[in-house]
């Protein structure tokens, strides 16, 4: 059931188009991430949902009711900011209760709700602390509780974790996700961190220069990118230009080397220019098992990246990355050695140029 919907939403700042013809249906309780590079319009889209920007055209609805021009304080939409934005003059409990007090709820109800929220974020002991007495992670949890206390229709989060250090980021994002699921709240999460988007979301909207590039589950976005942009933005990827050799058999060539692909290229003709994309982890060295594509290569360089080892190989005249899991018994090839790598048809993505 559609809960939040954006229909043909655009936003212009003067001559500049920040968001172009954006369409999105979000289901009740769904967690959707906006993922994209800096300046692609993620925040602007979020701010239109919150009511801080009014769309230049298009419509935004919650439960079917048009909220496009409603002021932010009439929308019942919770917002979590990158900079926490806690009220410095109020205690943790007062911060969390603020939205309810503004709604003139009964003192006792406010108190109960604040206690409930404090236990959800496990900060009961900090109820009477002031924001400056908290760590960044604690402040953001309070900000989350404050936004959720008003029982918002939709929870909006704009890069809530980017001011925190790596460890806390990972633990807090897990916490955000579990709270969101427990409360069954619809959430929109803006990030430019693909790992965050992939690990948290029910669906990801990949954005590029104000437009939706692709929408899908993390699984779909990662494994079946439909555009070069998505393919490049999410995960590490070898991309190179190629040419269609046989559309029916799915054959393409990259600088004379032939690859067999499972991508549907029947609509293309022989000689058409395409992008060929292969994830580094989809390659194996032939010693392990043989797949549809078996390719001669030369070892160019070897990089340790912790849990994986990234080996650069040259196939024909084109360089590719090949990832293998690190383990102490790994039989690493020598630089300059000739070898063979293999990958399945499905690993070879053929995208429009």
């Amino acid at each position: 059931m559609t809960h939040l919907a954006l229909k043909n939403v655009s936003k212009h700042f003067g001559n500049f188009t920040a968001v172009r013809d954006f369409n999105l249906d979000v289901n009740k309780g769904e967690f959707v991430s906006f993922l994209g590079p800096s300046g692609c319009g993620k925040t602007t889209t979020l701010r239109m949902i919150a009511g801080f920007e009014i769309p230049s055209s298009g419509e935004i609805t919650i439960n079917g009711a048009d909220i496009t021009n409603k002021s932010p304080n009439q929308r019942n939409v919770g917002m979590v900011f990158q900079s926490y934005a806690l009220f410095p003059n109020m205690t943790v409990a007062q911060n969390i209760g603020f939205g309810l007090q503004v709604r003139k709820e009964k003192e006792a109800d406010v108190k109960d709700r604040v206690a409930e929220m404090l236990s959800i974020i496990s900060l009961e002991s900090k109820a009477d602390s002031y924001p400056y007495q908290l760590s960044g992670g604690q402040m953001q949890r309070v900000a989350l509780a404050r936004a959720l206390a008003i029982r918002p229709e939709v929870l909006l989060l704009d890069e809530p974790l980017s001011a925190l250090d790596a460890k806390i980021r990972v633990s807090l994002r897990g916490e955000i996700r579990s709270i969101q699921q427990k409360l069954g709240i619809t959430a929109i999460y803006v990030t430019h961190d693909q790992e965050e988007a992939l690990s948290l979301s029910d669906r990801i909207v990949v954005m590029n220069i104000g437009e939706m590039e692709q929408i899908g589950t993390p699984f779909e976005i990662y494994n079946f990118p439909t555009t070069v942009f998505t393919a490049n933005f999410v995960g590490t990827l070898n991309t190179t230009s190629g040419e269609v050799l046989d559309p029916l058999k799915g054959l393409v060539t990259v600088d004379g080397v032939q690859f067999e692909s499972a991508s549907d290229i029947k609509s293309k003709r022989k000689g058409d220019k395409v992008r060929v994309a292969i994830r580094p982890e989809r390659f194996n060295f032939v010693s392990q098992e043989k797949k549809a594509n078996i390719l001669d290569c030369t070892i160019e360089s070897i990089n340790f990246l912790g849990s994986i080892v990234r080996i650069q190989v040259k196939i024909g005249n084109t360089k590719f990355f090949v990832d293998t899991f690190n383990n102490p018994f790994l039989d690493l090839p020598n630089i300059g050695a000739k070898d063979q790598v293999t990958c399945s048809k499905e690993a070879v993505l053929v995208l429009d140029e």
Binding site: F52, P72, A85, R146
Partner: protein
């Protein structure tokens, strides 16, 4: 954090400059104080006794304090929303407004007061008719009070605006505003419960400066013919030696006392927010 550990965190140079500044400020005060005690060696407080015996002192001093309070209240009502709106929505207007607030430094008070008198000493009539709907402000007491508070608001504007604006810079008022809005707050709630408490320290310093200006002001008060403390002190200074020194010192103490009271009243949790 207790006082001692807080002290330790202070670097040497901050202290040095603080002490130099404080001396610059305190030494003249001490000199005045010493002089005021030297009238009659047998009775060091003679100057004070004489000064306090005079009813005109109390009247003018109280009157000036009321004027100062009124000026502060009007300034805050006028300047806080203006500075807020400029920071939030009209950053382009910033330069113009800053220029306007600097006018009192460029235009001397004497010109301001003659302008005021010239404009407000004629009755307000409906243009092109003889129908008068208000007597000249200078003709009745309340009117003069309104006029002088208006003038003081202008004189205090550079200090008030700057304090408030600086206070707003130190808290991210834009994001705080948006956070409050998304929680359902309207403008009144945002300004009174979020913005004002968070610029309390700045307001206090603006109020302190305004207070000092108004209580000591002579030009506007004497030309508008009100019995304010400034003209009284001035008059006294022309005829007496020791009492003006005593009064200057006392008025200083009283002003500080008043500010201390404000600090106490508005303090409490403000202390915590202030250290943020």
């Amino acid at each position: 954090m207790n006082f001692i550990t807080r002290l330790r965190k202070f670097p040497f140079w901050s202290w040095l400059w603080f002490i130099i500044g404080a001396l610059y400020f305190i030494l003249p005060l001490l000199a005045t104080f010493e002089f005021s005690l030297s009238w009659d060696p047998a009775n060091p407080l003679k100057a004070y006794q004489r000064a306090f015996e005079d009813n005109r002192f109390w009247n003018s001093f109280m009157y000036s304090n009321v004027l100062a309070l009124a000026t502060i209240v009007v300034s805050i009502i006028l300047i806080v929303p203006t500075a807020y709106w400029i920071r939030l929505r009209l950053p382009q207007a910033r330069r113009i407004v800053e220029f306007i607030t600097l006018m009192p430094f460029v235009v001397p008070a004497i010109i301001l007061v003659f302008g005021l008198i010239r404009i407000y000493s004629t009755p307000f009539s409906i243009p092109f008719t003889d129908v008068v709907f208000m007597q000249p402000l200078t003709n009745f007491k309340m009117g003069t009070n309104i006029l002088i508070v208006g003038g003081y608001v202008v004189l205090a504007m550079p200090y008030m605006y700057r304090s408030v604006d600086t206070g707003m810079r130190t808290v991210d008022i834009r994001t705080l505003t948006e956070a409050s809005q998304s929680l359902g707050a309207n403008w009144f709630v945002i300004i009174t419960r979020v913005i004002l408490p968070n610029i309390r320290a700045a307001l206090l310093s603006g109020a302190l400066l305004t207070f000092a200006i108004v209580v000591g002001e002579v030009t506007l008060a004497s030309f508008l013919g009100v019995n304010a403390f400034g003209p009284y002190l001035f008059l006294l200074g022309q005829h007496r030696a020791y009492e003006p020194a005593a009064l200057s010192f006392v008025s200083f103490l009283l002003t500080w006392l008043a500010m201390g009271l404000i600090q106490l009243v508005t303090g409490g949790q403000g202390q915590a927010a202030g250290t943020h």
